[in-house]
Amino acid sequence: MEKILEIKNLSKNYDNFKLEDVNFNLEKGYIMGFIGPNGAGKTTTIKLIMNLIKRNSGEIKVFGLDNLHDEKKIKNRIGFVYDECNYYDNLSLKDNAKMIADFYDKWSWSEFDKYIEKFELDKNQKIKELSKGMKTKFAIATALSHDAELLIMDEPTSGLDPIFRQEIINILQEYIEDGNRSIIFSTHIISDIEKMADYITFINKGKIVFSEEKTKIEDEYRIVKGGLDILDSGIQNNLIEIKKNKFGFSGLTLNSSALHEKYGEAIVIDRPSIEDIMLYMAGER
């Protein structure tokens, strides 16, 4: 399948934070949820893709093109939603959009107007008069108005109410329906992407923990619970992270069938949500 985004051995060093050897790919036609705790490296990775900061090593290809060498070509085909507002406060939405439109070959005013209307925004209002949610809506409207083949969204749903978050999710699903566009969507609100994401890439402390098809994650990860009396090294070796209380233990495992065979009814095996997996994996701080 055609890869829209390829990241190889990407590293970035700061004094107090390191993004280390990041690798993942995204195929055409799919949505990737990019999840991790605050400060895990999500925004750093996204800024590196957009060449807003300089990497120390590694390689990034978008649409098969090098993101440094072909930066202009690539950006023309990307819709970008940044988690901070970077518009001209004293200008109207329309005037801001005019400046943005100049950067894109395929900018469509009719698409833009369609989204402005859908999001109930007023084109003549100034950016500084908008609420946070309205600014995000404006950012999304501009990202969707130039027929971008890849949407890169950094925490687009933070600060938005559940109704509008759902509306965005519906719009994004519609956007990829034809199979030619992809979305990478960073968030720590896991429920937003739990249903719609095809791939989940989980980053923690600057390292990729996994980047997998969501159905695979659902198939493989289980939470095992049982009494402390059976918590021997045989079980412990099969658990990724163990939580204990006075009455029992629970842990994340990839070997639930082996454990079920050995311990049978003495353990309970549950399906974790993506959030559960994140909590276990990011457990030791």
Partner: protein
Amino acid sequence: MKIIISNSSKQPIYEQIAYQIREQIIKGVLIENTALPSIRNLAKELQISVITTKRAYEELERDGYINTVPGKGTFIACQNVADIKEQKYKMIEEDLIKIIEESKVFDISKSELIEMINLIYE
């Protein structure tokens, strides 16, 4: 075609979809050559990921319930009635095994169980 997804079910969503489509084929609600929605359309309608519907269709295709014709779409495959019955037998057998195991846990004897079946079957 009807698909209802439960978020509280222990079954993963792709299995729920595959199961419900299979049931409708076995019951004769979905007949041979009926066109199914595309994986992308089904995902959008159900508000779930494309990879989930893709996986459901892959399972159904693997088991011979549906065929994908490149460029045309996905269709209900020609079904062998004997095969379907055989599979239904298997499903019932699996359910029975569960019932018997459960009965053993609570010391319900074989004759008690058969009596129960006789009563309910009437």
